[in-house]
């Protein structure tokens, strides 16, 4: 897909960067005519809060002194720009944009006396708190992975000593083991149950028995469909019933206990019991 779009742009061979440059060029006449819609890969970001944190860091001040209003505006500008380019963004990002637009209006218009709800400043403080908390956890994760780690920086005894084994057994299992065993077992079982219960398949044998019994009672030509519908338990069974019955029909015809007729291609298939004594026997 991506390749097709690149070729359309006429810069095939220029590598990945070329369409990017074009994308972000101020002047976008090349894009105006191109048909494909673009889905922005925001995989690099862990959601809108992460994006906001990135923007906030660009303010190059301590998060405690950050201008939430400026941040909201930057975010909205970003979203606006992306939308103008008809890039699709995950709903999360749009929800955040809506909230920030709301926050912005609250911050710009002083709280009216008697107005319900939190003030813009309170909402801004909550956002700032969340950003700082997220950043704190980011830093904590970085400090954690850079610690001396077992198996990388520090090591356990490489040759733990064998102990003489007595009769006593001590069992070990973790909750994770237990839950994994349970979940996968129940899942397996649930799925196999579903297969049996919901997608019943008519076996050839079943179809034969059914047809033999049915046709035996009718000397008139009857459409196969009519027989089937009468016995269909559920619409899902229609295909399998049809296929198995048809195969069974052919078998019964070959054995001479059934006659089959079709007026033209795709027309209904008519069946009737062979008007002979033998047919009656099979019908039993």
């Amino acid at each position: 897909m991506a390749q097709a779009a690149e070729t359309k742009g006429g810069t095939g061979g220029a590598g990945k960067a070329a369409p990017m440059d074009r994308l972000w060029a101020e002047n976008e006449e090349t894009r105006a005519t191109s048909e494909p819609s673009l889905v922005v890969d925001v995989d690099g970001f862990e959601g809108p809060l992460d994006l906001l944190l990135h923007l906030a860091r660009n303010q190059k001040v301590d998060l405690a002194r950050i201008s939430v209003l400026a941040l909201a505006e930057q975010y909205l500008a970003f979203i606006g720009k992306v939308r103008a380019m008809r890039l699709e963004l995950a709903a999360d990002y749009l929800v955040m944009a809506a909230w920030l637009a709301f926050l912005k209006s609250k911050l710009l218009i002083p709280k009216q006396p008697g107005e319900e709800g939190e003030s813009g400043e309170e909402l801004a403080a909550v956002l700032q708190f969340r950003l700082r908390r997220l950043e704190a956890m980011r830093d904590a994760a970085a400090r954690l992975v850079n610690r001396n780690r077992l198996g990388r920086d520090v090591f356990q005894r490489g040759m733990p000593e064998m102990v003489i084994v007595e009769k006593r057994n001590e069992f070990s299992a973790t909750l994770y083991d237990l839950l994994t065993a349970y979940a996968s077992q129940r899942q397996r079982q649930a799925i196999s149950n579903v297969t049996i219960a919901k997608r019943g398949v008519w076996s050839l044998k079943m179809a034969r028995t059914m047809l033999s019994r049915l046709i035996g009672t009718s000397a008139d030509w009857t459409a196969l469909d009519a027989f089937l519908i009468e016995y269909l338990a559920s619409p899902e069974e229609k295909r399998t019933a049809m296929a198995s019955s048809f195969a069974a029909t052919l078998e019964l015809v070959r054995e001479g206990s059934l006659e089959v007729r079709q007026e033209e291609v795709f027309a209904p298939i008519y069946l009737r019991g062979r008007q002979r004594v033998k047919a009656v026997e099979v019908a039993r």
């Binding site: 801004a124 908390r133 956890m137 954690l144 356990q156």
Partner: protein, 244 residues
């Protein structure tokens, strides 16, 4: 190691505080217990709990005292006795990491998201999945928690006593062992974070409220307007083109 220049070749810190108070029989008893504890913990690759030690050492041994003694003995050796929760283990000294790195076993690399979730669980425990998602502002993808549970660094610890009784997550002893932590309180920076109110689920009341600048449309001195280059940085580096 500069102190050791004038010390013996073996820079052990040896009983210099009040052992004389103990009577000789008691001292002998403790010395033997220390040797035994040393043998038991040394033989095991996994941390040995004080409870297990108490079961294996002669009756009446003051296990914490013996372990404190042993800890001090190994303090400056190439192998240290470290505390892992309420268990003990011998581990190579941290300052020798440079020497040991060639033994390093290939470790599973955790994704950035998984690491972040791990940090949140460690610092905020007990924490529910909803709280983790609130902190990160994003849904936790399937497999992230699964992966962490599989490393055995994270466990389900119980349920929050709130409506719906959500399961809470916390870290394990393996986590402490892996990251060379004696206890959760040793997590880097945890006290400061707590003090700053950053480990609470809700914003503390004393949290400062940022005031909007006088003219909100005007960028402050320390702000740059958003440029196209910024936007490019913002994850739009690999737009996927899909035909409709």
């Amino acid at each position: 190691m500069s102190e050791s220049v004038n010390a013996s070749v073996i820079p052990f810190v040896i009983g210099d505080d009040g052992e004389a108070v103990r009577n000789p029989a008691e001292r002998l008893h403790l010395a033997e217990a220390v040797r035994m504890a040393e043998a038991i913990v040394f033989a095991s690759a996994e941390p040995v709990s004080e409870k297990q030690l108490a079961q294996r050492l002669p009756e009446g041994v003051d296990v914490p005292a013996a372990m404190a003694e042993l800890h001090k003995i190994y303090e400056r050796r190439g192998v240290n006795l470290v505390r892992v929760g309420d268990a003990w283990a011998f581990r190579t000294a941290g300052d020798l990491a440079f020497l040991m790195s060639r033994d390093a076993v290939q470790q599973r690399k955790l994704s950035r998201a998984a690491l972040e979730v791990l940090a949140i669980i460690a610092y905020h425990q007990p924490v529910t999945r909803a709280e983790i998602e609130d902190i990160r502002g994003v849904e936790t993808s399937k497999g992230t928690l699964d992966t962490l549970l599989e490393t055995e660094w994270v466990r389900m610890r119980g349920r929050r006593k709130t409506p719906g009784r959500p399961v809470t997550y916390g870290t394990t002893e393996n986590f402490l062992d892996h990251f060379a932590l004696e206890e959760i309180r040793d997590l880097p920076g945890i006290e400061e974070l707590k003090g700053a109110g950053l480990l609470s689920a809700r914003m503390p009341s004393n949290f400062s409220i940022p005031l909007p600048p006088a003219d909100p449309d005007e960028l402050t001195e320390d702000e740059d307007p958003l440029t196209d280059i910024d936007l490019e940085e913002l994850g739009l580096l690999t737009p996927k083109v899909t035909e409709e």
